[in-house]
């Protein structure tokens, strides 16, 4: 059994070892998480999402500096993609946060996405829980440099910040579905480059509002920290709005519902796959589909019956 007191006390080595156990989905992970769970739910979780190279890590670096000035104990989870071929990864986010490494009240952990699409690692949620139990607050999650479809962060974070930069496309891009829909706050970073105002007006035209909250659009220059204080004010305003309207708790409940359903579904998927393969008729049915004796839809209906699922 792993002692949890050092984790709760925020001992960095204990926290980092616990995170590894969870990341590797070790046998100890579930018992550890069960012990830690009662100590979670305290941290405010901020998600930072956006395409590669827009400055997410640098923005987090500047955010951490501001939060530290207020004396907060900050946790950061920074995600980069795993290679689909080698399984390796180059995790280069904390490079932009170098100065915080020596701060005993800042804990930064790099994570590889380990084959999961959506912009996070399969264990991000539980890694955040370890940090939460160690009394880190806020916890900032950086996603993989997002493609348009990467929206997993919306089911982990309390508030989502979308980071863009000038000259990334016309206004149609800002109306597209995907991560542009999940922003509570939009940030145009590198706003000292040409075209920042155009990006802002494009965003303004087509942003999606979230239940009466019109996502603010801000300019930042992360290197140098310009606009970061204003960004934190907006994050706080958004949080207060969500809390006042009851959306904050509702979001968290939706996240947990999704997590539980996901766990059940993946468990049953595994079980069903095994059962289907063990069914004596399975191979025969596949052969019948191959030889065009029956079609795939009738075949799955038959299997369904065979598995007693109707």
């Amino acid at each position: 059994m792993i002692p949890i007191k050092p984790i709760l006390d925020g001992n960095k080595r204990a926290v980092s070892r616990a995170i590894s156990l969870i990341e590797d989905e070790s046998h100890y992970a579930s018992s550890l998480l069960r012990l830690l769970y009662p100590h979670t739910g305290k941290a405010f979780v901020i998600g930072i999402v956006g395409p590669p190279g827009t400055g997410k890590s640098s923005i987090i670096d500047a955010m951490v500096r501001c939060y530290r000035q207020r004396g907060a104990h900050v946790g950061v989870v920074a995600t980069d993609p795993s290679s689909p071929t080698s399984g390796g990864a180059l995790l280069g986010d904390r490079l932009r946060m170098g100065l915080h490494s020596l701060d005993s009240d800042v804990f930064i952990r790099s994570m590889a996405s380990r084959g999961q699409s959506g912009g996070l690692s399969p264990t991000t949620r539980n890694v955040v829980r370890v940090m939460d139990s160690a009394s880190m607050n806020p916890i900032i999650i950086e996603t993989v440099g997002a493609g348009q479809n990467d929206v997993s962060i919306a089911s982990v974070a309390d508030v989502v910040v979308v980071v863009l930069m000038p000259q990334m496309g016309d206004e149609v891009q800002s109306g597209k579905a995907g991560f542009m829909e999940i922003g509570d706050i939009f940030v145009v970073n590198k706003a000292d480059l040409d075209g920042a105002d155009k990006t802002i007006s494009d965003l303004r035209a087509l942003r999606s509002d979230v239940k009466g909250w019109e996502p603010p659009i801000l300019k930042t220059v992360a290197i140098g920290g310009k606009g970061i204080k204003e960004m934190l004010v907006q994050i706080e305003d958004c949080r207060q709005y969500l809390e006042k309207k009851g959306y904050f708790a509702r979001r968290r409940m939706a996240h947990l519902e999704e997590e539980l359903l996901g766990d059940i579904v993946s468990h049953w998927t595994q079980k069903l796959k095994l059962r289907a393969k063990r069914t004596s008729r399975f191979r025969a049915i596949v052969r019948e589909v191959v030889s065009r004796e029956i079609d795939p839809w009738r075949a799955s209906e038959q299997l369904y019956k065979e598995l007693d699922m109707m």
Binding site: I2, P3, P6, D9, N11, K12, R13, A14, S16, R17, A18, I19, S20, L21, D24, E25, S26, H27, A29, S30, S82, S83, S86, G87, G88, A89, L90, L91, G92, R94, L95, G98, S101, L102, F107, I108, R109, S110, A112, R114, D263, H267
Partner: protein
């Protein structure tokens, strides 16, 4: 109740690469990062111009199996052993240290005594370096999770 946590995944080898000193020549370090990545490792790039203190702190936060240190400026005899000492002081002596750079033969012996092995010079094949890291990590005994307070 179903057991929701699946079987343990084989642990991915995690390695930190950094240049702890006044040496901004990062090409070699970046090539190494890519070689380690292609060998299936999770590589945390700590960057150039770091201090030994930062390197040790990053190694602990990231719970790496190994740290690859590189210096071409002659400061390896100060910086590398300093990283080793800081890790020992943090109860993290089990983290493997490997070195590279412009390192004279007589220095290598001293560094090895400090636990910093490899100490590869220019022209070493990437395969040699990757193998060295893998071998050392395989032999490493991971101290159990009982950090001192």
């Amino acid at each position: 109740m179903p057991k929701l946590m699946p079987k343990s995944n084989p642990r991915k080898l995690r390695i930190l690469v950094s240049k702890p000193g006044l040496d901004g020549h990062d090409r070699g370090a970046l090539i190494l990062c890519k070689a380690f990545r292609d060998a299936g490792m999770e590589v945390i790039y700590g960057g150039v111009l770091t201090t030994p203190e930062q390197v040790a702190a990053m190694a602990i936060d990231e719970d790496v199996d190994a740290v690859a240190l590189s210096l071409l400026n002659g400061a390896h005899m100060v910086a590398f052993p300093r990283v080793a000492k800081l890790l020992r002081d943090s109860n993290a002596a089990d983290i493997v240290l490997v070195g590279g750079g412009i390192i004279p033969k007589e220095d290598k012996l001293v560094l090895e005594k400090e636990g910093i092995t490899g100490n590869f010079g220019p022209g070493t094949s990437l395969g040699t370096i990757v193998k060295h890291v893998k071998d050392r990590v395989a032999k490493r005994s991971r101290t159990t999770t009982r950090p001192s307070q």
